[in-house]
């Protein structure tokens, strides 16, 4: 079957050589494939994120989501792990980049991998997508409503704006936003859009009317079916263009 897949929890080598948990899904009966690192949102390495990992495999990509909270909360429920990470001020940027690098290396090592790796993330993961694509050599990046790429986060939070890193962006960027979102608000998205244009970086931004933050989240009231369906089509078209063999 073209959408057959296998999925499993594995251990990968992340930042600083740390062994961390990760969720891997790979397509079956496919000789070669591109790959996607899925960065989980702030609520954690949870069921809905793992569903996304499997969705990419069903569409012919190997997909891997590192558990960014594994160090603070090995084996904990995703919500408990997220609460611990939040109380600690979030995931340090350097560690995030190291974990994404480890995930990308693991994907490239899989038999059948074509060597192309994309990255996608939602919410806090959207900012971490931009950070990763400005820090690592990747082939495609999808930022779904990531805030604090341009503006400062609240005091005491570890994350800092990363607009100054845009000259280092290594790959095309697809940005999907809600016009009613406040974090990032449309003016913040516009600043990022202009900065990418200024530096000649290939990018494609879409802002959906009648959608706010987290419009892809099927298990939350923020879900917006029109935006989510169109957004998924744009994601697969984009990865199809940039991650094909």
């Amino acid at each position: 079957m073209p959408d057959s897949l296998t999925a499993d929890t594995i251990t990968i080598t992340g930042h600083d050589g740390d062994e961390i948990e990760a969720y891997l899904a790979t397509p079956l009966h496919q000789e070669t494939f591109g790959a996607v690192v899925v960065i989980h949102h702030m609520p954690g390495y949870d069921e809905s994120t793992k569903e996304m990992v499997r969705k990419f495999a069903a569409h012919g990509y190997a997909a891997l989501c590192p558990n960014l909270y594994h160090r603070e909360a090995p084996g904990a429920d995703p919500d408990d792990a997220a609460a611990t990470a939040r109380a600690n001020g979030g995931v340090p940027d350097e560690r995030l980049v190291g974990d994404v690098a480890g995930a990308a290396a693991h994907l490239k090592s899989l038999p059948g991998a074509n060597g192309k790796v994309g990255v996608i993330g939602h919410c806090s993961g959207g900012r971490q997508v931009v950070l990763s694509a400005c820090s690592l050599e990747l082939d495609a990046a999808v930022d779904c409503y990531g805030a604090f790429v341009v503006n400062d986060p609240p005091e005491g939070f570890a994350a800092k704006p990363i607009l100054n890193k845009i000259p280092d962006l290594s790959c095309p960027l697809l940005g999907l936003f809600g016009a009613e979102d406040k974090f990032p608000a449309p003016d913040e998205v516009k600043v990022l859009d202009d900065e990418l244009t200024k530096h000649g970086k290939a990018h494609e931004f879409h802002s959906y009317d009648n959608a706010g933050h987290a419009f892809f989240a099927v298990d939350r009231p923020s879900y917006r079916v029109e935006a989510a369906v169109d957004g998924w089509q744009k994601i697969f078209t984009f990865f199809g263009e940039h991650l094909a063999a």
Partner: protein, 100 residues
């Protein structure tokens, strides 16, 4: 939206979690997405003891109205009891207790 803002305080008390009772040392309060309540944003309170691990947590997700009503109810309950009855320092004066 994700607010990221977190109020964190040290507390004394006990809570009952998935594995029974345990001592509490911290509380985090934040307005952000809930895990369970069917609302886009809620007032979330985590009663925690990090020394016992991430699972040592009692969590609630409240509407803004419920959270504010809870604050009033807590104050009313304390005010209706003899001063200092539930204090960590029952022999201290009211001024000393207010000063922490």
């Amino acid at each position: 939206m994700c607010t990221y803002l977190t109020e964190k305080i040290a507390i004394a008390g006990s809570g009952k979690g998935a594995h029974g009772w345990f001592g509490l040392s911290e509380a985090s309060v934040y307005v952000d997405h809930p895990v369970h309540m069917p609302q886009e944003h809620t007032v979330n309170i985590d009663f925690r003891n990090p020394a016992l691990g991430p699972s040592a947590r009692v969590a609630v997700e409240l509407s803004e109205e419920a959270a504010l009503a809870l604050v009033d109810a807590i104050k009313a309950a304390i005010d209706s009891a003899p001063a200092g009855l539930a204090s960590e320092h029952p022999d201290a004066t009211a001024e000393e207790r207010m000063a922490g």
